[in-house]
Amino acid sequence: MNRLVATYGRTLTALFWALLLVWLIALVLVPTGMMVESSLWRMEQTTAEAQDSLDIDRLYNDISVAELDRSSAIGAKAAQLDAKLAAMKRQVATLEGREIVPVKVYTLRNYLSMSGLHVRVFVRTLFYSALVTLLAAVVCYPVAYIAAFARSARHGALILLALLVPYSINELLRIYAWLMVLDYHGLLNTLLIRAGIVPADDPIRFLEYPGSVFLAMVYAYILFMVFPLYNTLTTLERSQIEAARDLGASAWLIHRRVVIPHAKPGFAVGCVMTFMLSAGSYSVPRIISRGTGGDWFTQLIYRQFYEAHNWNIGAAYAVTLLLACLLFIALVMASFRVSLRDIAR
């Protein structure tokens, strides 16, 4: 703090802190806090008010019945009905006069009222995201190793370029490419029809299988595992591997005792990013299932906000997802024994 003032003076230091605090408070902390806050309340009628609105409904029913009777009634009966009608209408007026203003009630019910189906979707989302992460780690480790220890600098640069292009192309386009493959009239079906495996008039509806979302998700996020691994592996001296080899270690032993331990921070970052992107992905399920399926938890969140217009429940669902991701990060950091500073390097 003082060192900052010593170098940049009071005005600039104040400006820096102002920028930092605006970001931290107005863009990060308070919005998150408000999301959590709004997940903890809902607008409710008090029981007395709920009774009132029931009474109003019943009175309106009675009024319509009485009006129907009145239309066919004559003489004394008609007068009697008129009086009854007038009385009922007055009663409705008084009841409506104190018509309900829902009150804000703090409750955990937004969380606890999650239906069994939604809980299953939530669990499935986390399970498949973990599976995507695991698969990415297994598939990407050799790739990152080859890229980091390429035969020549030129070779390494080429591999890096080949990985960088699909990594930087827009997420939606990567998913769209898979949509073209898996579509009803897509490439896979065309091939299967040509091969005579599938009848031409009845292609397979791949997109309706949950596995399609999984396939596209692996494709969309797998490279988020490669680059953290690559970055840590490039800091490993080639001579360390050679020393291990000279001492007679098998390839397997070298990986298990030298390379993989060194790559731990890379695995940690890769796992956190891949899991977080998968569990929080809205693009893949929305595009692959054409918005019809409810396979992924983010779709349920979106629906609470933009279709059911129930922001409080939506916020509760969002907080649930956030907590799951935080828990995953904590787990990864504990099991790989790395700190946050290693993670975001």
Binding site: L27, R154, L161, N170, A279, G291, Y302
Partner: protein, 252 residues
């Protein structure tokens, strides 16, 4: 053996993208390779006259510039403060400022949406920009911090000893030293903003950017016009990535 593995992996990565790109040149009105009805530039013309996509592109550029202009100074300020802040406070602040990167994008969109609703600002370009800034500033901060860690402080001290005012020091010593990092921070910020879908789709409300427009279009059946966008993105990406790799290998 490893080479075969790598080739298989690259085929897996590139085949779907190549198919998507190739289908942009097929006359057949559905994006496909079979039936191949002849080479055409037709879909490029269709795209050029698609007004919703064009307006989405403008929105994307507006948000992208806005986010870059705000996120880079915020990242710079935070990086300057954090490199001089040790101990627990520094660790805590660092954790908080990095947390948006580790938060799912949809959550950032939602929390920003909920926040601005308190001020009667509903979802739109502004809210989307605010939501994007929250995590893009973190990326900027990390990029700038990486360079600051290699800074030779004695240069700044010398400038102060020679009587430079803080402003002059900042403008003539600090900023020039950080220029490459600021440039890549700006580049990354702009790209991240353009590309973003998961955060934006929650915060954009009734408006649209290029990417959210593509996203909503993909729901209603495919059009070769989207493949054309794919071709354009792919070309730009290949060029930018080649440039990046070239600069990187020259620096070594």
């Amino acid at each position: 053996m490893l080479g075969v593995y790598l080739v298989c992996f690259l085929v897996y990565l590139f085949l779907p993208l190549a198919l998507m790109a190739a289908a942009a040149f097929n006359s057949f009105p559905q994006p496909a390779l079979v039936p191949w009805q002849g080479f055409t530039w037709h879909w490029f013309g269709v795209l050029a006259h698609d007004e919703r996509l064009i307006s989405g592109l403008w929105h994307t550029l507006i948000v992208g510039v806005g986010v870059t202009v705000v996120a880079v100074p915020m990242g710079l300020a935070a990086a300057l403060i954090l490199t001089r802040l040790q101990g627990r406070a520094g660790g805590l602040l660092y954790g908080l400022l990095v947390s948006p990167i580790l938060t799912p994008g949809v959550i950032l969109g939602i929390s920003t949406l909920v926040f601005w609703r308190q001020f009667d600002v509903s979802g739109g370009l502004f809210v989307a920009g605010a939501a994007q800034t929250s995590f893009i500033a973190s990326y900027c901060m990390l990029i700038i911090m990486a360079r600051l860690q290699r800074q030779d402080r004695s240069l700044e001290e010398a400038a102060l000893d020679l009587g430079a005012t803080p402003w002059l020091l900042f403008r003539r010593v600090t900023l020039p030293f950080l220029a490459p990092a600021l440039l890549s921070a700006g580049f990354v910020a702009f790209l991240q903003s353009i590309e973003n879908y998961n955060t934006t789709v929650f915060a954009i409300g009734g408006e649209s950017t290029l990417v959210t427009e593509i996203g909503s279009r993909l729901r209603f059946g495919l059009s070769p016009a989207v493949n054309v966008i794919g071709v354009i993105f792919l070309t730009v990406t290949v060029l930018a990535a080649s440039l990046f790799v070239l600069l990187r290998s020259q620096r070594r």
